[in-house]
């Protein structure tokens, strides 16, 4: 089994020591993100996100399928994360690492369980036919903070996506091709974002946002807060690691809110930009109405 390369003793010691003196290797402030970039493809529902040297691609696809027997009125909505050898030779195809499982679970909680997408709107014929919406998250380059980057990519891709239009006449479902009818956006309820803190020092007194891979390797604990611009928290995950002051966590969530707002505005801007590029009529309206929520 290939293992992820451990950083040298010198690196481990120095990173911590430097943080003690309020220094990050790349000269960032502790609560400062690396430059975040988002680009959409020619197709609907493809989002390319870079956060410093971390790079994530999210692609949304939809097809008609049969609903689960226990949920006849719901569509199917899945988020598939994949951390392959492209991200690092330490990741093998089809052998999920802890990192990957963790990432998948957090995205699941943040986006799916928080009801960001109205799955009932995906139902076509109760108990017989429904949409299956699938997001594939591909990590192209891994330089830390996959969670925040991936979550942002997923939300961006879903909000950008358009699914084929449908109609039902006399119990007969028709799925129109893009040539026949302009595809329609998903019914989107709210946009949650992940903000991940990394803690350093013997009792986690130092807290960083957007840790790099090097920093993540020496952190003593981490905490991911998922919330939308309205400050509605979807989940908070602090999985083990050294205990952290409750007060500190509160401050973290406070900062997280401002970050979530920044993300949200940034995304709205990008979507509007893209809409202009395509100058599709009526799209702007939809977008703004989405934002009002």
């Amino acid at each position: 089994m290939p293992r992820e390369a451990e950083p040298s003793l010198n690196e481990k010691q120095f990173i911590v020591q430097a943080l003690g003196e309020k220094l990050r290797l790349d000269g960032r402030e502790f609560d400062q993100y690396r430059p975040l970039e988002l680009t959409f493809g020619d197709q609907y529902g493809v989002a390319n996100v870079t956060l410093g040297k971390t790079r994530v691609l999210a692609k949304v696809s939809a097809e008609v399928t049969v609903p689960y027997v226990d949920r006849p009125l719901d569509g199917v909505f899945t988020i598939a994360t994949e951390l392959g050898p492209m991200a690092s030779p330490a990741f093998e195809v089809g052998r999920p690492t802890e990192t990957e499982v963790l990432l998948a679970r957090l995205l699941e909680k943040t986006v799916r369980r928080s009801g960001a997408l109205d799955t009932e709107s995906l139902c076509l014929v109760a108990g017989q036919k429904c949409w299956s919406v699938r997001v594939d998250v591909h990590v192209l380059a891994h330089d830390g903070n996959l969670i925040d980057a991936s979550c942002f990519a997923v939300v961006a891709a879903l909000r950008h996506f358009r699914k084929p239009d449908t109609s039902i006449a006399s119990g007969q479902l028709t799925v129109y091709t893009p040539a026949e009818r302009e595809p329609v956006p998903l019914s989107w309820l709210h946009s949650p974002f992940c903000v991940t803190w990394s803690f350093f020092g013997d009792d986690g007194e130092t807290a960083l946002l957007d840790a790099t891979w090097a920093e993540e390797q020496v952190r003593v604990s981490s905490c991911t807060v998922s919330l939308n611009r309205h400050g509605e928290i979807c989940q908070i995950a602090k999985l083990g690691g050294v205990p952290v002051e409750a007060v500190a966590l509160l401050q973290c969530t406070a900062v997280a809110l401002t970050k979530a707002k920044e993300f949200s505005t940034f995304l709205d801007g990008k979507l509007a930009e893209d809409a202009k590029r395509r100058n599709k009529g009526g799209f702007m309206a939809e977008l703004s109405s989405e934002n009002d929520r």
């Binding site: 003793l9 010198n10 120095f14």
Partner: protein, 247 residues
Amino acid sequence: MATETERLYVLPGDAIDEPLVPRHKKQPLRLGPGLRHIPPSAIVPTVAGQLVVEPRKNSMWMEYNGGRYVPAQNDLVIGQVQRSAAELYLVNLAAHTASATLPQLAFEGATKKTRPQLAQGALVYARVVLANRHMDAELECVSAATGKAEGLGPLTGGMAFDVSLGLARRLLMARSRDEGGVEVLELLGAEGLAFETAVGRNGRVWVGSDSPKTIVLVGRALRETDEGRLDVEQQRKLVKRLVREMR
């Protein structure tokens, strides 16, 4: 420094016409990295880069950047101790590659008793004594000739930064400013920063100093020079800026 006109960019498998290949009376033709000889007389590049011909030394090689470090004899490298086996340390020169071997007695004045004890993850500055595709590379931290360390040995404290193989090579050039077009370290020194460095051909630069601030600053300077592809003039500006920020 070469001028635009005489630059020869070649791709793997390109044919290099005869006249370009130096034909020296006495010395044998010496082929550097990125080239291979196919009998009878063809010289073929195996990588994409700039073909450099040195008629005086009757040698030619490819100038290129990037890729993964492959050990070559006499390279100075910064290795990371994986574990110690009987009589030797297993040292990693690049992630996910087979580790090189470093005999525990290959240190200055090392004996059964005085040999240095290196923990897992410790860094050593070493020279590649044996490199060959069929065997794991072998290292030494002492010159076999003089028996002296000559700057080689364990690297304690400080910080190791990753740089591109190209920059590492340039930093190691005898006249790195004129040949390699990199002066950033000298400039930082000139600014009165106190630090020491060890440059590994395998794309790692170790920086030691009493002040973490200085180390971080040197690291950023190197990184920005490398990624920003800065020329000497820009390096000067960069150093000025960074130093200003620090103060």
